[in-house]
């Protein structure tokens, strides 16, 4: 009896770890394979290998030294950073009002903000195009910074509101008793406590802006103003049938590695930020 029980237990253990292995392999393999491909050139590209066989940095050299990819990288960094800073700046005060002060229509306002962050960007594309042309910022980074506000701002407001709601009331009470105005409460009392939340929200918004495709595709029109996702999507060879897979994979690895590192370093914070936006809401 004891022996069979152990056998059952062992089987369960093996099955469980098999499942764990499948999850890990499926998650990691495509990225691993992209890295593998990015080191291959010439005919080696077209041989399927499961393990590293060749190592060449040619694809990276090509991507970084010809064409506009370095420029696209700079565009992406500039657009994403400015978008995030702008959104955080507007969101801090707004989320204080939404989390800490009771006023008529607060629930409706929160729901509207959530609605905006969830509604299809396609629905505003035509109108945004008109506004961007009227402002004369078409085909500049500002067109993207302007349009990205539509998803970074509601998101940052929403997450910061949930964070701020959880701060202990005692701190604020003490400040009020000392005669601090709401502005002083935000800048002197809450800001120092909010740094972790700001970093988390900032990273998540940055990733969102970095990955954005629809607006970037629509509001820029030449190689020098494009961001990285559009550049990778439009990367093509000299003929239609000759897709430069090696270069595409190298470019993909270049834009993904910083994100993966960022995500792994801030793992816990990012998970808590994501779930704050969703579950706790």
């Amino acid at each position: 009896m004891g022996a069979t029980f152990d056998l059952w237990k062992a089987t369960k253990w093996v099955l469980f770890y098999l499942l764990v292995a499948v999850i890990v392999v499926v998650s990691v393999f495509p990225f691993y394979y992209a890295i593998l491909t990015s080191f291959k050139t010439g005919t080696a590209l077209f041989q399927v290998n499961y393990w590293p066989t060749s190592f060449s940095l040619d694809n990276y050299w090509n991507v970084l030294n010809s064409g506009s990819f370095p420029r696209n990288l700079l565009n992406s960094i500039f657009v994403s950073s400015v978008t995030v800073i702008l959104a955080l700046f507007l969101a801090i005060t707004a989320s204080f009002a939404l989390a800490r002060v009771r006023f008529r229509g607060r629930g409706l306002l929160l729901l509207t903000i959530l609605g905006i962050s969830m509604f299809p960007q396609m629905a505003v594309l035509a109108g945004l195009f008109e506004v961007i042309r009227a402002l004369g910022i078409y085909n500049t980074p500002w067109a993207l910074i302007f349009s990205y506000t539509i998803f970074t701002l509601p998101f940052t407001v929403w997450v910061l509101t949930t964070f701020m709601r959880d701060l202990p009331v005692e701190i604020e009470e003490a400040a009020i008793v000392d005669g601090a105005s709401p502005w002083v409460i935000i800048t002197r009392v809450f800001m120092p406590l909010m740094w972790p939340a700001l970093v988390t929200t900032g990273i998540l918004a940055f990733i969102g802006a970095w990955n954005e495709f629809l607006f970037a595709l629509t509001f820029t029109s030449n190689n020098d103003t494009r961001t990285v996702p559009v550049a990778i999507a439009l990367l093509s060879g000299s003929t239609q049938y000759e897709i430069p897979w090696g270069n595409i994979m190298a470019a993909s690895v270049i834009v993904t590695v910083p994100l993966v590192i960022l995500v792994l370093v801030f793992q816990r914070k990012i998970v808590s930020g994501l779930t704050a936006g969703g579950v706790k809401g």
Binding site: L125, A126, V279, G281
Partner: protein, 326 residues
């Protein structure tokens, strides 16, 4: 929430200056909200109204200013031919549009279904205590961190008909009898899109469900264990009902996201009628076919469909978004 009051704690702290303080806080709150409200009005509100307006005009991409109001013509109109037969035109009788609606709905339903089931599985694994849990958690964050365009390209290469590793693997394992042109064939294009989307977004679903799982008190399971309740029954009688709120929110987030899908399909299966979604078709009309007004009508309908579904879902599912009443 009908009356304007101060947070209860602050009211208790300073009862004498209550009303003055309250007024000051509400005034400050208004001031604090104004910049955000203006920003949202400019980037979301106004463009949305203009898009809807354009759908009732004959606007063209090259000449937006000369747009003339034409009423519902882009949606539905008819002409009576000399022979007496009636021709119906417009979005509501356009087969390409209804094909896109069907593709979108099918994609959204299937992807969210698979993501919910697989996400639940991954969440249950991550909720168990075992050696190497940290590694698994880190591993599943990788698909989430990879930009959609990059994952579309990566999988496009893996699904390549001639040199793709998935065909190679399938042949080696005996699952495929011949190489499949995954992204180019009408029958498999949707499958390819689904595979990539499920791979990319299951982690998000898993993390949201995991957060819900972790809120379930452990002693419920201990009690069930003592009563000899079978683990499968435990899952359906304890876990599922208790994790339901988190699951519902995760599903609606993903559903709304899936209904507006654009980038993955645009890159992975361009020009494939069997995967063309509402967003892809709308953008095509707006900017590639020079049918700006017609495209606007599509994006307006897309907005209406998503808004209606959201309201329906929130109403039916009793999802609570405004959790705190502090």
């Amino acid at each position: 929430m009908t009356t304007e009051t101060l947070a209860p704690s602050a009211r208790a702290a300073a009862p004498k200056v209550k009303s003055e303080l309250m007024q000051q806080r509400i005034r400050a709150a208004r001031l604090f909200l104004i910049p955000m409200l203006i920003a949202l009005a400019v980037v979301a509100g106004w463009p949305l109204l203009r898009s809807i307006y354009f759908s009732f005009t004959d606007a063209s991409l090259s000449n937006l200013e000369a747009a003339q109001w034409i009423g519902f013509g882009n949606y539905f109109r008819w002409t009576v031919l000399e022979s007496g037969t009636v021709r119906y035109r417009g979005l509501l009788v356009d087969p390409a549009w209804w094909n896109a609606v069907w593709n979108t709905v099918r994609f959204a339903f299937l992807s969210v279904l698979f993501e919910a089931v697989l996400g639940m599985m991954v969440a249950l694994v991550l909720n168990a205590e075992f050696k190497g849990r940290g590694i698994v958690r880190a591993a599943i964050l990788i698909p989430w961190a990879i930009p959609t365009i990059v994952s579309a390209r990566m999988w496009g290469w893996m699904l390549n008909d001639q040199f793709g590793i998935l065909n190679d693997l399938g042949m080696r394992l005996g699952l495929l009898s011949q190489k499949v042109a995954w992204t180019a064939t009408a029958d498999t294009a949707m499958t390819a899109v689904l595979i990539v989307d499920i791979w990319k977004t299951t982690p998000f679903m898993a993390l949201l469900i995991l957060a819900g799982l972790q809120m379930i008190p452990k002693d419920i399971y201990e009690a069930a264990e003592i009563d000899g309740v079978h683990p499968v029954k435990q899952f359906f009688k304890i876990t599922l009902p208790l994790v339901r709120p988190a699951l519902m929110v995760a599903i609606i987030f993903r559903l709304l996201d899936a209904l507006r899908i654009f980038d993955l399909i645009y890159v992975l299966t361009p020009n494939s009628a069997s995967t063309k979604t509402m967003s892809v078709l709308a953008r095509e009309n707006l900017f590639d076919f020079d049918k700006f007004a017609y495209g606007s009508a599509m994006s307006t309908l897309l907005f209406l469909i998503i808004a209606l579904l959201t309201i329906l879902y929130i109403w039916l599912g009793q999802v609570k978004f405004d959790g705190g009443d502090r």
